[in-house]
């Protein structure tokens, strides 16, 4: 018993040093040398300024004054709404938080979840309907009207991007074909052609859009 106890205490010290400090710190060192950008979060710069991580979705919003300005309480408050000039990411219940993550967790038969979905559908139709005349509720791909697991899904589906392309082309006055080309350029296919699902990286696509017009 006592021999087991002393041996265990020694093991606790040795294994903590080995697996708790040496292993992660050496891995950090090697990673930083081999893959410096990826170790640090795949940050993307535009004109020398970091504008986000390629892997972490972010919101693309504009602020406008509150219409309800008669009531002084709201007068100074601005409303954030989707910026029509940019491709919009998937809905998020965490406000695209990169440091406080959680799941939505509403169950499959929960009425609150259905109401969330209805809200997503309404927003999507309001944003894209005016530019894509044929767009109906049935035509919206599921990724656009369900919240992602991480809250920061960096991608949208190709079908979703194709619908939004109509809006982008009209608002930015770029030919639709050109927008579709940019979508293709910024689509991550299945790994090795077969694994996972293809997705369009929203941040990279929006950066490409801005470059197109600068």
């Amino acid at each position: 018993m006592r021999r087991d106890l002393t041996a265990s205490i020694v093991a606790a010290v040795v294994f903590t040093l080995l697996f708790g400090l040496a292993y992660p710190l050496i891995t950090t060192g090697v990673s930083q040398v081999l893959f410096p950008n990826k170790s640090d979060g795949s940050l993307v710069k535009v004109d020398g300024r970091t504008v986000g991580s390629k892997l972490i979705g972010q919101s693309f919003t504009v602020r406008r004054p509150n219409d309800n300005s008669k009531k002084p309480k709201y007068a100074k408050k601005q409303i954030k709404e989707p910026n029509p000039r940019y491709f919009q990411p998937r809905p998020s219940v965490t406000a695209y938080s990169g440091d406080v993550t959680f799941f939505n967790n509403l169950g499959p038969n929960n009425k609150a979840l259905m109401q969330q979905f209805k809200g997503y559908i309404k927003t999507y139709l309001a944003l894209n309907g005016p530019y894509d005349q044929g767009l109906t509720r049935e035509g919206i791909p599921v990724d656009a009207i369900t919240s992602s697991a991480s809250g920061v899904d960096p991608q949208i589906s190709q079908a979703n991007a194709r619908i939004q392309a109509h809006r982008i082309a009209a608002v930015r006055q770029i030919p639709l074909d050109r927008v579709n080309d940019l979508i293709d350029d910024n689509t991550d296919g299945r790994s090795l052609g077969v694994l996972g699902e293809p997705g369009v990286n929203v941040l990279e696509l929006n950066i490409a859009l801005d470059k197109e017009q600068s």
């Binding site: 710190l25 791909p141 790994s191 077969v194 996972g196 699902e197």
Partner: protein, 588 residues
């Protein structure tokens, strides 16, 4: 369901099946003390550890001595981890200035990591210092996995032994497993993950002004080194709260594939390690085949259910059909890059193995979809199961199957030439029934008392499912969750100010994990001790064969019947009711 989806399943199991005999043979060499290539670069480390540990690392141990060392060892690590997690205020590598979680949450977390469960009531990026993650939690990811593998090696020696009491030496088994199996594979795995974009740094959280016009803060940390071992060691505890759904843990389709292979790798290879060590590889393949058949069947169920979508989607008017450029299905709580296929496959393999990491939100699965992870756990984590613990659980199930077959034909049951008698069968039953008993009793207490209510998030049958899932997961040392279920309330305040635990859920969960880890572990060792002294009777024409398809079928039937008899009423009340109704319920 799509052709590509099934193709991915085929590729996954093809790759796994190709790796199993290679790693299985290697693991057998490691535990049989044979010469291996890695002794050249790492042998000095092994010898150094033996020297530091002292004479204990030399003598052979019988099952009682082996079991006692396991308990003492785990107890010491429990105390060390508890102390680390409770002193976060003075940690180095704490750029966010986190304080410790309360005692009850820490008790739960400590129980969770020492037992290879990795159930998490806390959110990694809002609670843990980098020091806690590395020197506390990741160390347990290594050590608890190595303990499981060591105990398995000892149990196998009992099955293979020709009449001696000795089952090996705990210190040697743990050390060799750590240094020659877990460390090198984790290191390579971590680098593969970083190459895909998993982060590995010690920086503070980074606030950037996004292109979209808003500020965004990105959590940082040494994630890759921990993700690699959490998958390989079937631990599963996320570096971040949303686990492997977060792109910094699992950024690409390829990283997802690698992580899924890591999840089943060691439990799957253990079947062939067993085959080698008992000198009959067909026995190992029979066990592997059982696991694969079971796993593929349940993948079909969860894949179909998730592709169909949920009542909430259909009532809202969503179109859940697959079409060009969209996955269709229930993408709520799932990531675009994983789609339906990889989310369903992950949910299946992470609960086949007692891993419990997730890449999607199980709480948002359809009723029948959510039933699959639950069912996988209810088999007692013997379909692959935890590293080590999965196969020793499976071996107990095999003895039960052999016993039942023996009763049917009226012969004394034998396995691998050893007679299975009253003492072994009693121990087998303790080992197999203890865990479900804990899961059901804990669920019952939580549901019937007012103290269980604060943990529940969803109304109606889903709330019951959350509770059942929580205690089934903790008792089976899995660690995945219907994550609406909670035991820790954290306001988003700096340094964890004002956070508190739900004591009832923390303690009940912690006790479930501890008892249901160590009672079956000791039962398995006791069975091995009892079998080890028996002589091996040579196989004759009347021997009941345990390496052919008939036996695989029998084994599957036994697993299904035991799980169904134990859990059917509970499952009916939760996920089955949920899956049968199309009605929506309001939150209460």
């Amino acid at each position: 369901m799509t052709v590509n989806g099934w193709l991915q399943l085929v590729i996954y199991f093809a790759v796994l099946t190709a790796l199993v005999p290679v790693l299985g043979a290697y693991m057998a060499r490691v535990y049989q003390g044979e010469r291996i290539l890695l002794e050249r670069p790492l042998g000095w480390l092994e010898r150094l550890i033996y020297r530091l540990i002292g004479p204990s690392s030399r003598n052979e141990q019988d099952w009682k001595s082996y079991g006692k060392t396991t308990i003492v060892f785990s107890l010491v690590f429990f105390l060390v981890l508890y102390a680390i997690l409770r002193t976060q205020g003075i940690h180095p590598f704490n750029p966010e200035g986190f304080n410790s979680a309360p005692w009850d949450v820490t008790f739960n977390t400590t129980s969770s990591f020492v037992t290879n469960t990795n159930w998490q009531f806390y959110g990694g990026e809002t609670t843990m210092t980098y020091f806690s993650q590395m020197a506390g939690l990741a160390v347990q990811n290594f050590v608890s996995a190595a303990v499981g593998m060591a105990v398995l090696a000892a149990v196998i020696r009992g099955f293979a032994s020709r009449g001696t009491r000795e089952l090996g030496n705990f210190w040697r088994d743990v050390t060799r497993g750590l240094i020659y199996i877990l460390l090198p594979i984790s290191f390579i795995g971590a680098l593969i993950l970083v190459s895909q974009g998993v982060i590995q740094n010690l920086s503070g959280y980074l606030t950037i002004h996004g292109l979209g016009g808003l500020d965004q803060t990105l959590a940082m940390g040494p994630a890759a080194s921990q993700v690699a071992i959490k998958q390989l060691g079937t631990n599963g505890g996320g570096f971040f709260n949303v686990n492997s759904a977060f792109p910094f843990e699992n950024p690409t389709q390829f990283s997802g594939f690698v992580e899924m292979i890591f999840i089943l790798l060691i439990p799957a290879a253990a079947t062939l390690q067993f085959g080698r060590m008992v000198g009959n590889r067909r026995q190992g393949w029979a066990l592997y085949a059982t696991m694969v058949v079971f796993s593929i069947a349940l993948f079909g169920v969860v894949y179909g259910a998730e592709q169909h979508g949920t009542p909430a989607q259909h009532h809202a008017g969503e179109n859940t059909a697959v079409a060009d450029g969209t996955t269709g299905g229930n993408l709520e709580g799932k990531e675009q890059r994983n789609g339906i296929t990889d989310s369903a496959l992950w949910a299946n393999v992470t609960t086949d193995a007692s891993n419990g990491s997730v890449n999607s939100a199980h709480d948002s699965y359809s009723g029948i979809g959510g039933l699959v992870p639950l069912t996988n756990m209810m088999t007692g984590e013997v379909i692959f199961g935890g590293v080590g613990s999965g196969l020793y659980g499976m071996l107990l199930t095999v003895l039960l199957a052999v016993f039942i077959a023996g009763l049917m034909v009226g012969r004394t049951p034998e396995y691998l030439g050893k007679k299975v008698e009253a003492r072994e069968v009693k121990l087998v039953l303790i080992g197999l029934l203890f865990t479900p008993m804990v899961a059901l009793i804990a669920t019952g207490i939580a549901i019937s008392s007012k103290y269980g209510a604060p943990s529940i998030f969803n109304p109606g049958p889903q709330g019951f499912s959350e509770t059942l899932y929580a205690y089934t997961s903790q008792a089976n040392n899995n660690g995945s969750a219907f994550a609406g279920f909670t035991g820790f309330v954290q306001p988003n305040a700096p340094g964890n100010a004002g956070s508190y635990g739900i004591t009832f859920a923390d303690i009940l969960g912690g006790l479930s994990m501890l008892t249901a880890r160590f009672v079956p572990l000791l039962s398995a060792l006791a069975v091995a001790g009892s079998l080890s002294v028996k002589r091996i009777v040579p196989a004759g024409p009347g021997t009941f064969r345990t390496d052919n398809p008939t036996f695989v079928l029998l084994l599957i039937a036994v697993i299904v019947i035991v799980a169904a008899l134990t859990f059917f009423p509970a499952v009916l009340l939760g996920p089955v009711v949920q899956g049968l109704t199309d009605q929506l319920g309001f939150p209460t």
